[in-house]
Symmetry: C2
Subunit: 365 residues, 2 copies
């Protein structure tokens, strides 16, 4: 019996090579020097990643690129293992040849970042593993995408890949991606589906609400739409062994799942294309436990029929502490949410905290 481990499946990095790329750019996404007035004791930088970034972006620093900072954060919160992924917007903004070239380098960088991390004493696993990245941009060739899948599958510390929702320009329900899904399924890589664009900035209105609406609502909506489109396009029928891990507990997917099933039923042309009720596919996906509340976690597990497909995450280094707290509130909330699920046994809670991820990523012997 192995020691119980805490595993973070939703934790991001801008690798140094990527941060340099963002510094070299004159358009969003970019990293810019902080305005002089706001630099106090130490110089700092600001990150602009959303198209309509309020208040000059957000502070960015070594917690985004330093592996020591990542390990320090893990130690502080008792996190044994992290499955690290590049933060959005990945390579979405690059022309195809550049994207292809840098994807290879960043995947190699991430392998090095993980492979040289400490081994957990008494266990045969490292503290860091990674999600690689594909050069998913308009104009990319299928063979470049397949090369990238192959590269990731050959790098021993990369256990999957993170993917946005844009595909090669037409979304993830684009048939052009079928060979890519096929290769990912064959290589048993986990796809971590993560939002970046939100949905419809016009919907947020004219009031100054900071990042609240795009982050709290736009991000989960985007994931919900992308996953639903995958279901409706039959991708999960064609590739039934595909392993999709949804960011932010799948957004609104589970709460809208019975409504979705009903709407499909009442649209016979759509219904006739699918092998199963929409809830069948939703029950076959994996969900991080990044939803900040016990009721939400219990509900996702109830809807998909099990907690074994759910796993702890932090969203580090986003949502840093505001008031100098030692432990990050965003992390503590997500841990307390798991412990507070009244309908889960301790064994189920342990699973969500680590065991489920160890199995999904094949990290147990």
């Amino acid at each position: 019996m192995l020691k119980k481990l805490l595993v973070d499946v939703h934790t991001h990095v801008y690798l140094p090579r990527y941060a340099e790329l963002l510094r070299s750019r004159s358009a969003v996404p970019r990293i810019i020097p902080a305005p002089a007035a706001s630099t106090d004791s130490k110089p700092s930088e600001r990150l602009l990643i959303l198209d309509h970034e309020p208040s000059g972006g957000r502070p960015v620093g070594p917690q985004y690129w330093s592996r020591d900072e990542k390990l320090g954060f893990m130690d502080k919160h008792g996190i044994d293992v992290s499955i690290v992924s590049s933060a959005n917007p990945w390579l979405d903004f690059l022309p195809a040849p550049d994207a292809s070239d840098i994807a290879i380098k960043l995947n190699d960088d991430l392998e090095e970042y993980c492979s040289s991390s400490p081994i957990i004493s008494d266990q045969r696993i490292k503290r860091l593993y990674g999600f690689g990245m594909l050069p998913l941009v308009p104009g990319i060739t299928t063979s470049a995408l397949l090369d990238s899948v192959r590269q990731i599958s050959l790098l021993p510390h990369l256990k999957g890949l993170i993917m946005g929702t844009r595909g090669v320009g037409k979304g993830l329900d684009d048939e052009a991606l079928d060979p890519v899904w096929e290769a990912i399924e064959k290589e048993k890589l986990v796809v971590f589906l993560h939002p970046h664009y939100g949905v419809d900035n016009d919907a947020w209105g004219e009031k100054e609400n900071g990042h609240v609406l795009p982050l709290a609502l736009g991000f989960p909506f985007e994931t919900t739409v992308a996953t639903t489109r995958l279901i409706l396009a039959g991708v999960l029928d064609k590739f039934p062994d595909l392993r999709l891990l949804l960011a932010h507990s799948g957004g609104a997917l589970t709460q809208l799942s019975s409504r979705l099933a009903s709407c499909i039923h009442h649209d016979p042309l759509v219904a006739s294309r699918l092998k199963h009720d929409a809830r069948y596919y939703i029950g076959r996906l994996y969900y991080d436990a990044v939803s900040y509340g016990s009721e939400e976690l219990q509900f996702v597990a109830d809807t998909i029929g099990r907690s074994q497909r759910m796993m702890f995450g932090t969203d580090h280094p986003f949502f840093p502490p505001l008031n100098g707290e030692i432990k990050w509130r965003s992390v503590v909330e997500n841990l307390e949410a798991i412990q507070g699920v009244s309908g889960w046994s301790q064994e189920q809670k342990d699973g969500v905290e680590g065991g489920n991820a160890l199995k999904l990523f094949n990290l147990v012997q």
Copy 2:
């Protein structure tokens, strides 16, 4: 002790005057004759209400405007009382003077529709009550809106009003609406908040998915955004006794509620404006039980802390049966969802089926 009643709080009508208006129009929303090829035994019409309506709209007929059809539908499903509301898009497409004029007439029409309905034997209540309508269009004067609130409050069978999310053009978080909220709160009218526009048609992609994405996802997203914006603007702080009933069980509002609270906490400018945690406001709202699944219903009740704020609805005459079933699947599913909530006592289920609505609409002595 009164007989247990089944009360439908989410059931729509296009009053004859409104249907005539739609027939007179040359742009969406409109009612058009069905193409000759599709008219079999009886002539029929088609309704176009969404901007991007696939496949030439949907069949529309007397179930949309005939009161006998409404009562027949209620009898067939054992529904004792319906709180009827005009279906979207209400008066959103009209110039202000026209909207003002027809709102008065439609509210009078709806009062007549309800007041002349049968009385339930042994009880002092009628079978039909209504949600009136305000002329919420750009350019309308506040005094016209207040006149409309007053009219509704004086019509004895109108128990509230149905409202879309656009306000007078800038959404419901527009300060221009403050006097309207104040009057609605004072008159103790229930606001039935209902979507029409969805969110971002571009998000649905290029595949032919019928109405599924805008209806299953766009509609609930719209309600979620509008309610969140009301919270963020402090409307629920300013008008704490406002009674808002959210369509489709509030969309994704409860599933995203802890994430919303976290995002607000991490945006101090927004957080400092609000008196309470976001979940406090979410717990003070009312939710229909139109979400087609027991897990969803239980979850909403768990999140808001009680089932007493939830109430049965059908969305009639939308989602009609496809295969000639006698009872409508959409209705049966929503009733079975209530009965199937494992965490609810029979008394709680009875409340969601009718008792909660009777109390909210002040229909019990």
